[in-house]
């Protein structure tokens, strides 16, 4: 288990900087690679490696828990629409989301997660309102 001091230190140094070597989990075990960029997606941060792979934050070793995710209302309409256009363009060009850790895989994962949360939460609020008015 991480000590409080270790936890505070890792959170203060998070996220890692460009050029740092990261450890992360893959489908076959653990690997290391150099970080090129950290980028917010619609829900969580993605870590873009120098070899072009995109690793979601929760698979990076040392990621503070609980993770910080974006609130649904932080995502602007323009940002969502840009994401939708990019996804349709990638799909239209014949890219395959079944290529794990590639940009289409990563962006489609986040878009589906975001859309699910956004509409499920909104539906939940309506159901609550309906139940309140029926009481």
């Amino acid at each position: 288990m991480q000590s409080i001091a270790e936890k505070l230190r890792s959170e203060a140094q998070w996220p890692p900087e460009e050029g740092e070597v990261l450890s992360f989990t893959t489908s076959v075990g653990s690997e290391t690679a150099t970080l090129k960029e950290v980028r917010w997606g619609l829900v969580w941060r993605d870590f873009i490696l120098e070899d072009g792979r995109v690793i979601p934050e929760h698979r990076i070793a040392g990621c503070p828990q609980p993770q910080v995710w974006r609130k649904m209302d932080e995502v602007t309409d323009d940002e969502r629409e840009d994401c939708e256009e990019r996804l349709l363009s990638m799909a239209g060009s014949g890219m395959d989301p079944r290529q794990r850790d590639q940009s289409f895989w990563a962006e489609l994962n986040q878009y589906l997660a975001y859309t699910y949360l956004r509409y499920k939460q909104a539906s939940g609020r309506v159901q609550d309102k309906v139940q309140e008015t029926e009481r």
């Binding site: 799909a91 989301p97 589906l112 509409y119 909104a122 309506v126």
Partner: protein
């Protein structure tokens, strides 16, 4: 930890994990897109029945169109399965 003690992020993580949407299995993209489409359709129906939020209605309809487009492309790009009888 009980559900009422969860932070908003922990709740979102649980909801997405239960829906299989934190890291989608490579062979399940079409099913997960269909699941998300169902949630959007439910919301769109609510908006038509209870709300007059025109902007959200348009946004939900646009998302539904995007999901349908992605579903068609993903299904079209499915690699052919090898016939086990050929092995």
């Amino acid at each position: 930890m009980t559900r009422s003690e969860e932070t908003e992020d922990q709740q979102a993580w649980r909801v997405l994990s239960e829906a299989g949407l934190v890291e989608i299995r490579l062979d399940e993209f079409a099913e997960r897109i269909a699941d998300v489409k169902r949630i959007v359709i439910v919301r769109l129906r609510e908006l038509l029945d209870f709300d007059n939020g025109i902007e959200e209605r348009e946004s939900a309809a646009y998302s539904l169109g995007t999901l349908k487009g992605l579903e068609l492309k993903v299904l079209a790009n499915v690699p052919p399965r090898s016939d086990p009888s050929e092995v």
